[in-house]
C-alpha cells in the first residue's frame, strides 16, 4: 500500500517551510495526546505550481462527549479568519494525525483524505509517530491517495468488480510523499542560537539496544489485524460457498423443471409456467471489499514499520558485537 522505494523518488516532494510546523505537531501530541489517543490538526499553506508548501498548522481540540455542542466547522472558520489577519496562509492544504505504533489506515482517514484531495489535488495527510520519534528519529510521513483510489472513491463503487477494474490493490492505495524541510536564514540564525544556548547532550536513543517491548507491542497490533483479516476471509469463504450452493440449487431446480415439463408433455398436460428464477434464488450479498483492502493495507504498514525497526536493531546489535569483540 506504500509505493515501493523506487517509485517514491518520482513523486514530487512536499515542502515544510520553517520549523514551526514540525515543532507544533510535536508539542500538540506531547501536551494533549497522552496514552493512545489520536490528535489531529489542520495544515495550512499554499500550492505553488504543482508543489505543495506547508507553512503553518493548528490543532483540533479533542472530541470529548461533554462538548457535544462543539462546532468543529465553526472553530475552523474562526481560526482561519483570525490567522488571515496576521498574514498566515489560510488555505487548507491537508491535515495531520498522530498514530499509535503505525495504525492509521482506516475508513475515517480515507474519507477525510478524499474530501481534502477532492478540493485540492496535492493535499497530504501527515502522519506523526510519536513513539518512533521518541526512539531517536523524527517519524513524520506524508501520504496521499493514489489517483486510482481517488477515482474509486468518487464513484463510490467499492464492490469487487469496481476494484478489479481500477486494479487497486492494497499496495497502491496510498503513495508516500517525501518531505523536505526548508528553513529561511532567520530560522537558521535561531537554530544556531538555540544550539549555542542550550548544550543539548545529543540523545543517543537511536543507539539504544532495548527493543523487546516495542517489538511486542507492534506484533500485538499486527496479530489483532491478522485476526480481523482472517475473520474477513471466513466471511468471504462463506459467501463464495453460498454462491456456489445457490448455483447448484438453481441448476437442480432448472433440471427438475425441465424433467417435469417433459413428463407433462408426455402426459399431454400443459407445461408449468416459467418462473422467474432470479427472484426465487436471491443471490447472497457479496461482502464489502473496501474493509478487506483497508485491513490489508494496515497489515502492510505494520509489516513495513516492523521491518524497518528490525533492520535498525540488527545493525545496532552488530555494532555492539564489534565493540565487545574489541575488548575481549
Amino acid at each position: 500500500m506504500l509505493a515501493q522505494h523506487s517509485t517514491v523518488s518520482l513523486v514530487r516532494p512536499c515542502f515544510l517551510s520553517g520549523s514551526q510546523v514540525v515543532l507544533k505537531i510535536i508539542k500538540h501530541y506531547q501536551e494533549e495526546g497522552q496514552g493512545s489517543e489520536v490528535v489531529q490538526g489542520v495544515l495550512l499553506g499554499l500550492v505553488v505550481e504543482d508543489r505543495l508548501e506547508i507553512t503553518n498548522c493548528f490543532p483540533f481540540p479533542q472530541h470529548t462527549e461533554e462538548d457535544a455542542d462543539f462546532d468543529e466547522v465553526q472553530y475552523q472558520m474562526e481560526m482561519m479568519r483570525s490567522l488571515r489577519h496576521v498574514n498566515i496562509d489560510h488555505l487548507h492544504v491537508g491535515w495531520y494525525q498522530s498514530t499509535f505504533y503505525g495504525s492509521f489506515v482506516s475508513r475515517a482517514l480515507l474519507d477525510s483524505q478524499f474530501s481534502y484531495q477532492h478540493a485540492i489535488e496535492e493535499s497530504v495527510v501527515l502522519i506523526y509517530d510519536p513513539i518512533k520519534t521518541a526512539q531517536g528519529s523524527l517519524s513524520l510521513k506524508a501520504y496521499r491517495l493514489t489517483p486510482k483510489l481517488m477515482e474509486i472513491c468518487k464513484e463510490k463503487d467499492f464492490s469487487a468488480e469496481g476494484l478489479k477494474k481500477a486494479a487497486v490493490g492494497y499496495e497502491n492505495m496510498f503513495e508516500e510523499v517525501p518531505i523536505v524541510i526548508k528553513n529561511s536564514h532567520l530560522i537558521s540564525v535561531l537554530l544556531w542560537e538555540l544550539e549555542e544556548k542550550s548544550t543539548v547532550p545529543s540523545k543517543h536513543e537511536l543507539l539504544s539496544l532495548s527493543s523487546s517491548s516495542h517489538l511486542e507491542k507492534s506484533l500485538q497490533m499486527l496479530m489483532d489485524r491478522v485476526d480481523d483479516m482472517s475473520q474477513d476471509i471466513v466471511k468471504f469463504n462463506t459467501f463464495s460457498r453460498n454462491t456456489s450452493k445457490q448455483q447448484q440449487q438453481k441448476h437442480q431446480y432448472i433440471q427438475r423443471r425441465q424433467q417435469e415439463n417433459t413428463q407433462r408433455q408426455s402426459r399431454g398436460e400443459p407445461p408449468l409456467p416459467e418462473e422467474d428464477i432470479s427472484k426465487m434464488f436471491k443471490p447472497p450479498q457479496p461482502p464489502p471489499r473496501m474493509d478487506t483492502l483497508l485491513i490489508a493495507g494496515q497489515i502492510n504498514t505494520y509489516c513495513q514499520t516492523v521491518k524497518e525497526f528490525t533492520s535498525q536493531n540488527l545493525g545496532k546489535l552488530f555494532m555492539a558485537e564489534a565493540l565487545q569483540g574489541h575488548n575481549s
Binding site: 515543532l23 503553518n56 523524527l138 483479516m229 490489508a296 533492520s311 545493525g315
Partner: protein, 287 residues
C-alpha cells in the same frame, strides 16, 4: 506536564535575587520568527501573546500567537478583540494554558511597549515581556525576558522599569529530536533537509559517536604527549566511560547476541510471510 529537560542558557541574571526564571520551548521562538517574516509592509516589529503555565518559581512558555497591531510615532493600536478571540480558540485545544505575557520582536523596549504591557497586566498577573531580536541588532538573535516593576517616587512621577529575567530553553524529549533534525538544515546549502530512514539514521548516529570518540582520543594523546596538562575530573569521566562497556564473558555475550538476533530475524521472517499472505489473498479474492 510531560517530563521536560532543562538546559542552562546563560543571560545576565538580575542583580537582585528574583527567583523567577523563564523557560521557553523552541516552538515559541520559531513561531515568533515566522510571524516576523510575515509582517505587514511598513511594520517594524510584531507583537503577540504568550501562553503557558506558571508555577511557584518559574514560568513556562509553551505557545504563542501574533496579534495585529499598528504602531506609529505617537500612538499604538492593538487589536484586543482579536487577542481575546484567539485566546479562547487556543483554550479549546489546551485548556491548561493561560496568558502569561506578551512578546515583541526587536531589541529595545520602547514607550509603546509600556502601554502594551499595561494592557497585558490586565489579562495576567505579572506578565512577562519577551523580546526576540529578529533584526539582529545585537549581532545575534538574543531572546530576553523582562518583568515590569514600578519605580519612582510614590505620589509624584511614577514610571515602570523592566527588569531582566534569566531565560532557559526547555525541551520535551521528542522536541529534542525534532530540533536535532532541524539543525541539519543549517549545513545544507539550500537549507533543506529530507527525512532519512532506517539504517542511514543509525549510521549517522554511529558517525556522531565516532567523531566524539576521536575528539576524546585526540585529547588523550595530547595529555600523554605532555602538550596539555592532565585534568583529574576529565580523567574520572574517562574512567567512567571505559567502565560503561560491560565486561561480559564471551560465551554469555554470544548467547545474548544470538538470541536477540534470532528474535529479530524471526520477526522479519514472520512479517515477510504475512505480507506474502495478504498479497496472495488479494489475488485470490479479486479473481
Amino acid at each position: 506536564a510531560a517530563a521536560a529537560r532543562v538546559h542552562e542558557g546563560a543571560t545576565p541574571s538580575p542583580g537582585r535575587s528574583r527567583p523567577a526564571v523563564v523557560k521557553i520551548h523552541p516552538v515559541v521562538v520559531a513561531s515568533i520568527v515566522d510571524s516576523y517574516e510575515r509582517r505587514n509592509e511598513g511594520a517594524s516589529r510584531v507583537i503577540g501573546t504568550l501562553l503557558g503555565t506558571i508555577d511557584k518559581h518559574s514560568v513556562e512558555v509553551t505557545n504563542c500567537f501574533s496579534v495585529p497591531h499598528n504602531e506609529s510615532e505617537d500612538e499604538v493600536a492593538v487589536d484586543m478583540e482579536f487577542a481575546k478571540n484567539m485566546y479562547e480558540l487556543h483554550r479549546k485545544v489546551s485548556p491548561s494554558e493561560v496568558i502569561i505575557g506578551w512578546y515583541a520582536t526587536g531589541y529595545d523596549i520602547t514607550e509603546h511597549s509600556v502601554l502594551i504591557h499595561e494592557y497585558y497586566s490586565r489579562e495576567a498577573q505579572n506578565p512577562i515581556h519577551l523580546t526576540v531580536d529578529t533584526a539582529l541588532q545585537s549581532g545575534k538573535m538574543s531572546v530576553r525576558a523582562y518583568l515590569s516593576a514600578p519605580m519612582g517616587v510614590p505620589g509624584k512621577t511614577v514610571g515602570v522599569m523592566f527588569t531582566p529575567l534569566s531565560v532557559k530553553y526547555v525541551y520535551y524529549d521528542t522536541e529534542c529530536i525534532g530540533i536535532e533534525l532541524l539543525q541539519k538544515t543549517r549545513t545544507s546549502p539550500s537549507r533543506t533537509n529530507g527525512l532519512t530512514s532506517d539504517l542511514t539514521q543509525v549510521a549517522g548516529s554511529a558517525a556522531q559517536t565516532q567523531e566524539m570518540l576521536s575528539t576524546v582520543l585526540a585529547y588523550i594523546e595530547d595529555v600523554l604527549a605532555g602538550k596539555v596538562t592532565a585534568d583529574n575530573s576529565v580523567g574520572r569521566y574517562l574512567m567512567d566511560l571505559v567502565d560503561k562497556v560491560p565486561m561480559i564473558p564471551a560465551e554469555d555475550f554470544e548467547t545474548m547476541l544470538n538470541s536477540n538476533i534470532n528474535d529479530l530475524l524471526m520477526v522479519t521472517y514472520l512479517t515477510n510471510l504475512t505480507q506474502t499472505q495478504i498479497a496472495l489473498n488479494e489475488k485470490l479474492v479479486i479473481m
